[in-house]
């Protein structure tokens, strides 16, 4: 009975349902102070360099997901494109890292909260844990990401 009830849930990937949040709902993800290292990538389906680096983020997630590590792929797709573009894209690419849809059009009020150096161009990535914080506007390679994680991850 237990197995029958829980097996289907276990088979669901965490991206079957993609939550849309405003900045207030998203903000707690920027300031966790536990042992986990967070990789928060800002992207959109229409952003070519973002889409290009996604496989590297997926590889990084596969490598570290059993550790104290959490990846969040924060989509900035327009609200009207969530159903027509974002959901099919995530399903087709079988993205495993958790995808969150951030809908907060008044960008000027929240971009600086993520990092003071961020002009707003994407891709942009925040990597942090309770000891380190690295923000980068622009693309990353797997090697660059891996180097940072190896250096800062808390075992």
């Amino acid at each position: 009975m237990f197995v029958l009830l829980f097996l289907p849930l276990g088979l669901l990937s965490q991206n079957e349902i993609i939550q849309t949040v405003n900045f207030k709902g998203f903000e707690p993800w920027l300031n966790k102070s536990n042992d986990t290292t967070y990789v928060i990538n800002f992207w959109a389906t229409w952003c070519a360099p973002c889409v290009k680096e996604l496989p590297d983020f997926e590889s990084l997630n596969k490598k570290y997901k059993s550790k104290k590590f959490k990846m969040l792929l924060v989509s900035l797709d327009f609200m009207r494109m969530k159903d027509s573009r974002l959901l099919p894209f995530v399903a087709q690419r079988k993205l495993e890292a958790q995808v969150l849809h951030l809908h907060e059009p008044d960008a000027n009020v929240w971009i600086g909260t993520v990092d003071q150096s961020w002009s707003g161009a994407i891709p942009a990535t925040l990597i942090y844990n309770r000891n380190h914080r690295v923000f980068h506007e622009g693309s990353y390679t797997f090697q660059e990401l891996d180097t940072i994680i190896k250096r800062i991850i808390i075992n």
């Binding site: 229409w46 360099p49 008044d106 960008a107 000027n108 002009s119 161009a121 506007e137 090697q143």
Partner: protein, 200 residues
């Protein structure tokens, strides 16, 4: 090696954060760039202008597209008051084929752009101005013969829906400089597409 690479990445991002570009109050340089109609355009050509709304923008970026009608409205409203819109496409056409000169011509004619749509073919103008994304607005005001940067940032505070924008940054900035008042806010951030740089 690991640490070396890390510090290299760190210093690179430090460099990016402190890269050159205009700040409020800086003197802006003129440019001479190819327009979609085949002519070369400089700000010096506009002898009657009191300033310029220079917008780094392009064809392919959905944020630029979302703001297209609002750019036209800005020109319709402010060109006659002495502040015409000039659009500069900073993207390399190999890195982003949708932003090629011929595609720019097509888009300009489809939308009947009332303003020049220029190609920063050498990718030098956007670097000097410090544009990091499309769209990225620089409001220049002519003061004692110089073009002074008075606003840098977004057009308004809602890219998805013009009707829901509660702050029209560029419009109020132009109104402020026309009335000799201080622009507030002088800079804003916005989500946008990175500038597509030529791979060497």
């Amino acid at each position: 090696m690991k640490h070396l690479l890390f510090s290299l990445i760190f210093s690179l991002s430090l460099f990016a954060a402190t890269a050159q570009g205009y700040k409020i109050g800086d003197k802006a340089s003129d440019f001479k760039l190819l327009n979609v109609d085949g002519t070369m355009v400089s700000m010096a050509d506009y002898t009657d202008a009191k300033g310029f709304i220079v917008i780094f923008s392009c064809n392919h970026c959905p944020y630029s597209v979302a703001y297209e009608d609002r750019k036209i409205e800005l020109d319709n409203k402010f060109a006659q008051l002495g502040y015409p819109v000039i659009i500069i496409n900073p993207n390399d056409s190999i890195a982003q084929p949708q932003d090629s000169y011929s595609k720019m011509q097509i888009r300009a004619s489809e939308k009947q752009f009332p303003f020049p749509y220029l190609l920063d073919a050498e990718q030098t103008v956007y670097k000097e101005y410090g544009a990091t994304r499309t769209p990225h607005v620089f409001l220049l005001n002519k003061e004692e013969g110089d073009l002074i940067v008075r606003y840098i940032g977004a057009i308004d505070n809602n890219h998805e829906d013009a009707a829901k924008a509660t702050q029209k940054y560029v419009e109020s900035a132009v109104n402020a400089v026309m009335n000799g008042k201080k622009v507030d806010p002088e800079t804003t951030r916005a989500i946008g597409c990175t500038i597509k740089v030529r791979k060497s």
